[in-house]
Subunit: 322 residues, 2 copies
């Protein structure tokens, strides 16, 4: 019997890490998860992860053939194979691809979660067959993975694709990066909460959002209120869409992509965000680009997306090699 070739996809999160074995078609055949426990250091984490993978492979030894390991992690650098000073994890520089090579003698690769999501989308999601598109992850922050001519934009140092940190408002909101007016200070779960406060100050309408202490307010509260027709909450999405739509129009002038594809927790807002965003984007475009660019939700199952994205790092290399 021919064994099924699989890639191990690993996603390192601030709290939990997940792993799974993914075949060439993007089926996640088995998966597992574990607490990241970053304070114990990267050596213990990766030893534990490799042991879990070894167990999964051992259990399915007759059926599965492991051909590579892909990793998604914060501050990951594809070129050097390292994780570099991730703030959330409190590590220094960790050479992950070297660890993979030492343990497996198999191809290994690492990148950040937004880049992994873009590759996953291209290999297994709604971007199949697309050569030029931009994946946008809307979570606590705003990440992006940009595909040009069928390849990721890594730039000279591996750190390209920081769409969340283009400046959209001069002297605007303080961003987590220390600068002012970054896109992610407006367009992200955190940005949406801040927008709710901005609009509570600006507008006079009643809103259920006014009943919640700002410290406890979540983007989910804003979403739920908007779904129930709360005027202020709906205006929050319109406000967010204004910043996002204009930024996308600038990206279209630069990249002329086939699509923007949205993933991450806040992407669940769906049309509540994407419809006004599309409208603002179209209004802001050069005529030559109008009615050409799609805004799409991710085509990957949210539960497996992180694993699929990481595994896609290796599958993409294999497919590119023919």
């Amino acid at each position: 019997m021919n064994k099924i070739k699989v890639v191990a996809g690993i996603d390192i999160g601030g709290t939990n890490s997940v792993l799974g074995l993914v075949d060439a078609k993007g089926n996640c055949l088995v998966k597992d998860s574990l607490p990241t426990d970053a304070q114990n250091g990267p050596d213990i984490l990766f030893e534990t992860i490799f042991n879990r993978i070894d167990e999964l492979i051992f259990r399915h030894e007759q059926a599965l053939d492991l051909i590579g390991i892909g990793v998604g992690a914060p501050n990951a650098n594809y070129y050097s194979g390292t994780i570099e000073n991730p703030v959330n994890l409190g590590w220094g520089i960790v050479n992950v691809v070297k660890k993979i090579d030492e343990h497996y003698h198999l191809p290994g690769a690492i990148t950040n979660d937004a880049n992994a999501a873009a590759l996953g989308e291209m290999e297994f999601g709604v971007a199949k067959g697309m050569q030029n598109f931009i994946e946008i992850t809307l979570g606590t922050g705003l990440g992006s993975g940009i595909i040009v001519n069928g390849e990721l934009v890594y730039g000279q140092d591996g750190f390209a694709g920081e769409l969340g940190h283009i400046t959209v408002k001069r002297d605007g909101r303080k961003c987590g990066c220390g600068r002012l007016g970054c896109l992610e200070a407006y367009v992200s779960a955190t940005g949406l909460k801040r927008t709710a406060l901005t609009l509570m100050a600006k507008m006079t309408v009643n809103s259920t959002l006014r009943l919640l202490a700002p410290v406890a307010l979540t983007s989910k509260d804003v979403f739920d209120a908007a779904v129930l027709g709360d005027e202020l909450a709906r205006e929050c999405f319109q406000y967010t869409a204004t910043f996002l739509g204009r930024a996308l129009a600038d990206c279209v002038a630069i990249f002329s992509p086939e699509a923007f594809i949205f993933t991450g927790g806040m992407a669940k807002a769906g049309d509540l965000l994407l419809e006004p965003t599309k409208q603002i984007m179209e209004q802001s475009l050069l005529p030559v680009f109008r009615n050409k660019v799609k805004l799409l939700p991710s085509g990957m199952d949210a539960g497996d997306a992180a694993i699929l994205g990481s595994a896609a790092l290796i599958w993409h290399q294999k497919h590119a090699q023919g």
Copy 2:
């Protein structure tokens, strides 16, 4: 004797067109120019150009072997091989690559002048060996050719790379494209003239620029005055640099390029523009990108740059094929 392989490079301008024969190392061996006479239509122009090339080749038949024809032109589309409704020329859609194929049965390619400049820079100029950089042409407008992973960014339709039309000031200056606040309304020869008027209104200092009728004012006047120490003229470059530097910082977040390379008439301002631009860019960058990105003047001889860029279209294809 082995013949020297050459590519014909053709640049179609609004007033004049130029052509030349370029070897693999970027030497422009012979060249010629002619009035574009756009009103006579594209058929006559290209027939004349092909005749000129044929004469040059015939004259050097023993020495030169023509292997392809590259063309730079406004509104050119690399994918379709066409020039599409160029405003300056008053044509409809012209299939240039088809004309080349019919006349020569040799590889032909076409793109706009900024993209051609980027390829020329990579093949023959200061971007040799660079895989990620952005060429910016500063003339009447602002054009750009963006290289990612060693290839031009064309996007889904061939029209990517319109950096001149990202919005840098909400409800700002009216741009030639009809929209408001585009980068090229601030950073271009035309933009510099407009900035002189803005600052004449804003500042109270004396300036030689106040002696000239606005209709006659040129960007060269502003440059000459700045060189002579005119305070208002110098402030014009500072103002321009503020918009350019911030826009470049956004581009770094997106592309993490090795360099921005400047060409075109206004690039002759050199350090008068590039030094303050570099300063503003560095101030605006995410820390991870600081002190990594070069701002460089073009390495191509200004007189041959358009021909070299067009010829590079074909030489780049040859080199990419190995």
